[in-house]
Amino acid sequence: MTVGVVALALLVGATALAQQRGGTLRIAYTSITQLDPYKTAANDEINASSLVFDPLFVIGKDDFQPVPHLAESWEAVDDTTWEFHLRQGVMFQDGNEVFPEGQSREVTADDVVYSVNRFLEVSTAFTLGNVTSVEAVDDYTVRITTAEPDPFLVTDVNRLARVVIVPHEAIEQLGEEGFARHPIGSGPFELTSFTPDQNLTFQRNEDYWLDTYLDAVEFVFIPDPTVQTIAVEAGDVDVVPYLFNIDSVAQLQDAPGIELYPRGGSYRGLGFNVTTPPFDEFEVRDAISKAIDIDAAVAAVVEPFGHRAYGQVPPWVDFEQDPTLEELWEYDPEEALEILESVGFTPGPDGVLQRDGEPLSFAIKTIAGSQVRVLTILVTQLQELGIDATLQQQDTAVWAEDLQTGNDTGVFFDYSFAGTTGLYSLFHSSNAGRTNTHFYENEDVDALLDEASRTVDFAERNRLWLEAQRLIMQDRAAIPLYFEFGYSVVSERVHDWVVPWGGLHLVSLENNVWVE
């Protein structure tokens, strides 16, 4: 029977399978200790809590543009004012401590006002930018005003898309801690049981405004990533939402009964603290960038599960790729040596380049991941040129603190989730010592990024943004290496899965997950 269905699907295309109602979807997770959607940056917790709540809009599955959800539409009234029009008749979940069965109420503009304000107050993970006011115009219209024009408010996955709507009664009655254990929202699934790191189940919200195919969702606690993939193969769970290890990706791509869904990814490069000698000299950074054959290393380790990066702006945000950046990064070891000689480095008795008796010697600080192998290749190439480079692998927390407090070696593995505003986080001087671990300060770049962040017109914003990127890359504040793709590992019996992006959406205007 199954074989027949598959054969038929191959003949007439995947749509031959009719959607089926019912069933439970089982999703693996590493750690979930609380479910307040505003108090976490952890993917697992955000995925779980996003079943219970509705955001105003979701980030679309194909082009990463906002798609209506709780808000049917929105528009910019003027440069600093957004107006959102809410869907009517959406009810909060009932049959719980806060809203007894049949005694729920409609989601209105006041709830959006409450939610945005609470988000501004308690969210440690995400920021809305400079929101000056949020007000209900009528029951179904909300106006959000920003101090300056802010196009990212709706396009960046980490801004308004993160503000799911919460009912104030639930937080008032249950308390902050209670709400984190019994979240109540208007979303497609209601929480049925939650014991941290043990058991977490949801059932369909029968009154949801969209038809939901799944009966229930179970989050399955599997802290070890290797065991997570084994569990999918064993049929013990249906989905591993994020697979961060490309070795596992390579291993699973031909596994029977399993599909890999790619979406988004991360930026990985070599970063410099441009205030630490000798990397405070442009020539040294430039020479390093020419001394390494990035293409070869990326081809050997990463492809086809990622590709070479020439800038920080990833292909999955709405900014365009800048093809001219490619010319900046040419592998030319001889020129690298010449540049180093021109600033006074000469081979010492042990073959290591030195200047005034100081060897050109540094450790690249990194965390575990595919980059360790890429960097190993690059370090070997540097050593062949007489540069005493080594690799130092650290624990994530140590690495993060080290980078934020200045990183004594001056060069490090540069990692970011590569969201829409990643360039701003990584290179704007106002973030120095936090996300800007390059301690890079360039007035021109700051001005361009600030201007772009205020520019509503996309073409102009894109131009400014890419110009800033070009300046940063010309300055060699960082050497981009590659973008690594992110994947969901999904059992064949699951259909219409969309890799979570700012939240897990099993039911939306774009998709409706069902299982065979």
Partner: protein
């Protein structure tokens, strides 16, 4: 003996204080903290994170933090987790029974394997059975238990599908379900201890079997089985129990790793996650409970001596 136990319990207080201080100092001065991790996120709200730092008292000097922490412990408050914002005491005591079940089961597995195997090896001294048993002991000690765990998981969980690969069963689903979830982690964790105890049982049995009273018993015509189990084993068991008690600490340490492999929601897993996220209060709470547990087990071992060998008396 009661007075002895009470004295020992009282003696634990300064030790625990010392442990609290050392872990606190180690964690405070180690690089990397939870707040910095949060600040490293691309889209972070800096003001709110700074406020969280103040609310949790993480902006205070370390000695003041330690003082507040001690004050909390005395009133049973182990602090608030930085990441989950839930009371640490709740999290720790919710998981601790799970770890206790796992380690107890592992100890049982270890003894069930080690004692018969050790006795068998001693009885077949220098025979094929002896070599086989010692071979097992060697392999068992040498094998890293996370690796053994993964192998068992793939063989019995993925390939043969005999046993569940993850999680703790629910007693509500019956004892069999609960036990089936326990088998793989307990066997994995118990194997290296079993290996150590097998060697020990064999060696002490050999010592005892060489004693005069055993020869006398044999000369009197006591059946070999009775000599082995009645006369020899009981005396040989004392060092085995000591070793098992001392090795309990190693079991707790092993549980930290095994719980991750088998998704066992115990204290070890809680500590691993806390360490990853530099959740200092949770790490502290877990270490304190681990330490207390270890000391109690050591005391229990000492008291067990008296039960096994009536000649030992505490006063």
């Amino acid at each position: 003996m009661l007075a002895y136990a009470a004295r020992r319990l009282l003696g634990m207080v300064p030790v625990l204080l010392g442990i609290a201080f050392i872990t606190f100092a180690l964690v405070s001065f180690a690089p990397g903290d939870a707040i910095r991790l949060m600040l490293g996120s691309e889209s972070v709200n800096v003001e709110n994170v700074e406020r969280l730092r103040r609310e949790l008292g993480l902006d205070l000097p370390w000695y003041q933090q330690f003082w507040n922490y001690l004050g909390g412990i005395l009133s049973g408050d182990l602090g608030t987790s930085i990441t989950s914002r839930q009371p640490v005491a709740d999290q720790v005591f919710q998981r601790f029974p799970n770890t206790l079940v796992l380690t107890a089961a592992s100890l049982l597995v270890a003894l069930l394997i080690a004692v018969p195997l050790g006795v068998f090896a001693a009885a077949r001294h220098n025979g094929a059975g002896d070599y086989l048993a010692m071979g097992f002991a060697m392999v068992g000690v040498a094998m890293p238990n996370f690796w053994l765990g993964l192998i068992l998981l793939i063989v019995f969980g993925l390939e043969l599908r005999w046993l569940p690969i993850r999680g703790i069963g629910s007693l509500a689903d019956g004892v069999l379900d609960y036990a089936s979830h326990l088998v793989l982690p307990a066997v994995t964790l118990g194997t290296s201890l079993a290996a150590i105890l097998t060697r020990l049982t064999r060696n002490t049995m050999l010592d005892v079997l060489g004693e005069d009273y055993v020869r006398t018993a044999r000369a009197k015509g006591v059946r070999p089985g009775r000599v082995l189990f009645r006369h020899a084993l009981r005396n040989a068991l004392l060092p085995v129990v000591t070793a098992a008690g001392l090795q309990f600490g190693a079991l707790l340490g092993g549980a930290v790793i095994i719980e991750t492999v088998f998704s066992w929601p115990g204290l070890g897993l809680l500590s691993i996650n806390a360490i990853r996220q530099r959740d200092l209060p949770t790490m502290q709470g877990a270490v304190l409970v681990f330490a207390t547990c270890f000391m109690l087990v050591t005391l229990l071992t000492d008291l067990l001596y008296a039960a096994i060998n009536p000649r030992i008396r505490y006063g």
